[in-house]
């Protein structure tokens, strides 16, 4: 029964979110890096208000070695594909009380100018399912959403720059 209620809730959740403010904004300077908590409502807006752009959403954590290892390639992807219609956005699953002590210093070191969030869902499971019901929760994970907010590619585990580019361009091609 709980599963049934959950699926209904998911369906209704996806139908809402119109008329909300845009949430994607770039970091202004590396000194004043901004990391915002993300809940179900903010995630819904992020996924569905695409303005014709593809979204590559990387889920990571400061404690996750492969996440840290692949991060420079995300920064590189942001630089190479921002003008091609791709928003690279990072979403950390570190705790909110670790934003200042762990997340921001790492993003500063990486010179990451992409919009950055930290998971603020009350339940991990709701966050995982909101991104993809097929995702186990293993990180790093990168989800590629097309310009209508539909999930097109899921990359689980450490990626290379080449695999990020391949996934981004595959979804970009479908946009045209």
């Amino acid at each position: 029964m709980m599963q049934f209620i959950f699926w209904i809730a998911c369906g209704l959740f996806l139908l809402t979110g119109e008329g909300q403010p845009a949430v994607v904004s770039r970091q202004q300077t590396s000194a004043a890096i901004e990391v915002r908590p993300i809940d179900a409502n903010t995630l819904n807006i992020l996924l569905h208000r695409r303005n014709g752009r593809v979204l590559m959403l990387n889920v990571w954590a400061t404690w996750c070695v492969p996440c840290v290892e692949e991060f420079p390639d995300l920064v590189r992807l942001d630089a190479s594909h921002r003008t091609k219609g791709v928003d690279v956005v990072t979403l950390s699953i570190d705790y909110e009380d670790e934003i200042e002590s762990k997340v921001k210093p790492f993003l500063r070191r990486m010179k990451a100018g992409m919009p950055a969030y930290v998971n603020a869902f009350a339940k991990q499971e709701d966050f995982i399912t909101a991104l993809s019901p097929e995702w186990s929760g293993a990180i790093p994970a990168t989800f590629v959403f097309d310009s209508s907010g539909s999930l097109r590619e899921t990359l689980v585990g450490k990626q290379s720059f080449k695999s990020f580019v391949t996934a981004a361009e595959k979804v970009l091609r479908k946009r045209k």
């Binding site: 699926w7 209704l12 139908l15 996750c64 991990q124 499971e125 995982i128 186990s136 585990g157």
Partner: protein
């Protein structure tokens, strides 16, 4: 119309999910870190077999070391068997031995060379739990509880599943999800 379509799709998915019976695990044989062989069928008379994919270097798995040791202590006398499995390619038997000794993990830990068993179970992260019946039906799959920070735990999913099994009731929540480290597989 769109709402109606969504609701109908939702109902279809839910009905299909309920219609499925329990999945079955395939038997395997692996050596533990002390060289002893274990097969799932060795434990056919157990109340349940808890298979835990764990790691030495994963901070999430390590956050659960004490909880795993406590679960083993609390449930082994009740006829529940615990088997840890390490499928990470970079974690050696010596490292696993040292880690287990340091953290008081006294249940057998099996080394899954080339992640063969992780592949059979489609296990993808650590710590990831499968609870099996003696007949190898998968009764529960998912997390130990809902927060790696013990103070924030609100549902002790694995304990709840084991308690239900021990009292002869069906497991009410058979699947849960949680964040974890990807299992580092051979390429």
């Amino acid at each position: 119309m769109k709402v109606l379509q969504t609701i109908l799709l939702t109902i279809t998915v839910a009905v299909l999910a309920f219609a499925e019976g329990p999945k079955k695990a395939e038997n395997f044989t692996l050596q533990d870190i002390n060289g002893k062989k274990h097969s799932l069928v060795d434990y056919k008379d157990a109340e349940a077999i808890v298979v835990m994919f764990i790691a030495t270097q994963c901070p999430v798995s390590n956050a659960y070391n004490e909880r795993m040791a406590a679960l083993h202590k609390d449930y082994q006398e009740k006829g529940i068997v615990f088997l840890g499995i390490n499928s990470n390619k970079q974690e050696s038997i010596e490292e696993i031995k040292g880690h287990a000794a340091e953290h008081g993990l006294t249940f057998p830990i099996l080394k899954d060379h080339k992640n063969v068993i992780a592949d059979k179970f489609s296990a993808s992260f650590t710590p990831e739990i499968f609870v099996l019946s003696g007949g190898l039906d998968i009764l529960y799959h998912g997390r130990i509880d809902d927060s790696q920070r013990e103070a924030r735990v609100t549902t002790k999913d694995l304990r709840k599943a084991l308690d239900e099994i021990l009292t002869g009731r069906p497991v009410t929540t058979t699947e849960t999800k949680a964040f974890g480290c990807t299992i580092k597989r051979v390429s």
